[in-house]
Symmetry: none
Subunit: 156 residues, 2 copies
Amino acid sequence: MSVLSDHIEAFIKASMGDLPQVELCRQALAAQFHCAPSQINYVLATRFAPDLGYVIQSKRGGGGYIRILRINIDKEAYLMALISQGIGEAIRESQARALIDRLYEREVIQGQEARLMRAAVADQTLKAACHEKDILRAAVLKSMLLALAGGAEVEV
Amino acid sequence: MSVLSDHIEAFIKASMGDLPQVELCRQALAAQFHCAPSQINYVLATRFAPDLGYVIQSKRGGGGYIRILRINIDKEAYLMALISQGIGEAIRESQARALIDRLYEREVIQGQEARLMRAAVADQTLKAACHEKDILRAAVLKSMLLALAGGAEVEV
DNA sequence: TACCCATTGGTCAGAGATAGTCAACAAGCC
DNA sequence: GGCTTGTTGACTATCTCTGACCAATGGGTA
């Protein structure tokens, strides 16, 4: 079954080739495929999601763009596993701290980075109701792990 | 994808080189880039703002000029100033990114740390209503800056 | 000195150019 | 039919650029 989203996905992947990143123009791409611009967002959300090893950056306004960065999954399998399985929808502060400590022990991160991460996910930092806090913490933690996994090869 | 503002910014930075300041003539610059004079103000406001480490001085009338000064900062004092004044109750993603970029340029943080911080304060990360997002982002950012400022003495 | 006015930069609202979000509808697949 | 996936359009958010109008400076002139 070959559907529009698949074509767009294939086109983007072909554009990327072996490069670590590619830059698109949403409007132009939508015009090229004769679809609504939001269709591009759908493809990005479903085929180039963080869990699938991609990071999306974009800018609006004149000269706007959408940039897709690829993560080297082989190299960072541990982080990706953490992101997709090790952290659920929510995570408590103590669990997050333990996870960060493990990263430090395994030398995935340095002291300064560990301090940054702890600060970002601290209970005191996340102003929200208790359960919301844990959800938020999970999101922040995942996002940072993704940055660790994907950032190394790309100038962000 | 580069746009007029980017070109003007690049030109000014090239003019500066390693010097601590540079002097421009708004009209002449606008003529050089075939744009409205106010476009220069736009570039100054968005690319050479105080948050980005610059100070603008200017004089009108005959022999008028625009002078751009690069600020040199003391790391700890800068961080503390950012925490107490530079960041309010809320901060937008673009402002937060600019702030992090500046820390990176000034070598207060390294590339990996910058990526971590950007990830933590990204719009995509902070799942909340728009205004709540900005408040949350300010809290996360401040918390991380505090970690940077006080990090050396804190137990790992 | 007092005033005029040419010259130069500042401000701001609005238009234009992109991209993001979300709810509703459509198409496929048990 | 009901669930999942795909598609769209209306509305929103953000970034860029411009022009009309405002403000300041300094030289010229009465």
